[in-house]
Symmetry: C2
Subunit: 307 residues, 2 copies
């Protein structure tokens, strides 16, 4: 629940703790599941992530109906599990081949590719299991099914998986269609790869809190621009950042000859484009009458982040 006297930093920290506790409860442990799967899943889920997507879901729920965010907590955590699976698979040698994430060796470096693939597969399944289980109250059945469809479609071929496939093609790692992305295609790739699940996070939070269609639409437009800004800032940090602050290898995009906002537009214009997104996100909140909650501050936080 939003507390008017709470700073954004305090809200983020409190929500992060709350999400971490819910994630711990949601994941199976031995003897229900083999120890190695439990260990591998937890290695990646509790790796110090920002919990941006769950925070967004809970803030959207609270913006729609103050105090209604408890109903959004399972969806928020389900999305984080799905996001974590995507990071594990993206890091594999067959994909981006990253050995460092959030300052630690990536999962496949520690457990091998086979267990890393399985841990990712398992996290996706656990996300949907959590969505199906909670909230247990039958009154939420219709909202849960609506949210489940949104999240599954955002995670699937028309969303995140499709975006990662385009990314692989752009990096020359997939057969058939060596892609040379222009600005529109780059935006389209990001809209799938990261945008779809970020939109699903905010929209799911709003729906679980009982938002009407107009509020859902406003939250969706807010999150679409927020997601693009998030990605542009990511691209900028990959150029400007250092591995210590990022917790991952900087300069990976350029080394992989991947198209990015800075490579297409330069750093200065990329910053302007991100700021334009944030301005549009604020406008969507204003139009939806949702400017009083945390969503506006979260947009500004995304713009100013350093990792």
């Amino acid at each position: 629940m939003a507390r008017s006297d709470e700073t954004l930093a305090a809200f983020l920290e409190r929500t992060r703790v709350r999400v971490d506790e819910a994630l711990e409860r949601a994941l199976p442990r031995p003897p229900a599941c083999p120890a190695i799967v439990s260990e591998a899943m937890r290695y990646s889920v509790f790796a110090g992530g920002k919990r941006f997507r769950p925070i967004l879901a809970l803030a959207a729920a609270d913006a729609v109906a103050t105090g209604a965010d408890a109903a959004a907590l399972p969806a928020a955590c389900a999305i984080e599990l799905i996001h974590t699976y995507s990071l594990i698979h993206d890091d594999l040698p067959a994909m981006d081949n990253d050995t460092l994430r959030r300052g630690r060796p990536t999962l496949h470096v520690v457990y091998g590719d086979g267990i890393a693939i399985l841990a990712g597969d398992g996290l996706q399944a656990e996300g949907f299991a959590l969505l199906a289980r909670e909230p247990a109250d039958a009154a939420f059945a219709d909202r849960k099914l609506r949210v489940m469809r949104i999240i599954a479609e955002a995670a699937g071929a028309i969303g995140m998986v499709g975006g990662q496939a385009i990314d692989l093609q752009a990096a020359g790692q997939a057969p058939g269609h060596p892609l040379d992305l222009d600005a529109d295609a780059l935006r389209g790739m990001h809209a799938r790869k990261t945008g779809a699940l970020i939109r699903a996070s905010a929209v799911s939070g709003a729906i679980m809190a009982g938002a009407n269609d107009a509020a859902v639409d406003a939250v969706d437009r807010y999150a679409a621009d927020l997601g693009l800004a998030f990605q542009i800032v990511d691209d900028i940090l990959d150029v400007e950042g250092d591995a210590g602050a990022l917790g991952k290898t900087a300069g990976k995009d350029a080394a992989a000859s991947k198209p990015t906002y800075p490579s297409l537009f330069g750093l200065e214009r990329s910053r302007t484009l991100a700021a334009d997104c944030i301005a549009r996100a604020h406008a969507a909140l204003d139009e939806g009458g949702l400017a009083d909650g945390r969503l506006g501050a979260i947009a500004d936080w995304i713009m100013s982040r350093r990792n």
Copy 2:
């Protein structure tokens, strides 16, 4: 719907066509998703599979309430999508490293490991998306959520993913715990790796058709024994079969030093154990008053299959 004058072979063929049509409708295609993802998913989904799990789901639905199987078709297809994703990932070099399945090169051989991982990831998501969407009638909401939880948990760490992790450890491909499986542990591995999703198939069909708790329980006990018989027969065929009939490499288990029913019990005793399972499956149907439908004939079919 069961037709009393229809042979099992005709039922299987008719149901296979029906499932294939529903799978085709369920999968996204360009421009909604990138062409390469659509192509890769379809390469594996339409590879000539037996559709054992969807057939089981539909037969269970029809056994519970004649003609109610249409409500079970989305769940039946969702499970087939999830099963297909598991085959794609199991075939990867980091897992079983199989280059041939159903007589064709495996997906990663054709599209590369990256796209194969993504196509599998996408199929899991599409399975849950289909479950969330259909049947669209709100009257099915509670059944859908119940089935979704069962399927997601069967696919996850306590089920299929957990079983495959144990299999990797037994084959010495995972760190930390080199496993030497005895008969109980082998049965436990199969119960997770293939048994959980087979049980989920039958139980989901029954629930979608409106089964009461006693009928769901009978179907579950039937399917648990059916699933184990299915796996024992698989092990036997791996020893006895030839690649032409199997459509995959025979003798893989022995080459990988994997424990199997024949390696632990010998062929003759393995056949007896499978027959015992089938007898128990029939007994469960009798006790549940479900002996009149197709489920009994499906059990006998599993016992006699040659591929």
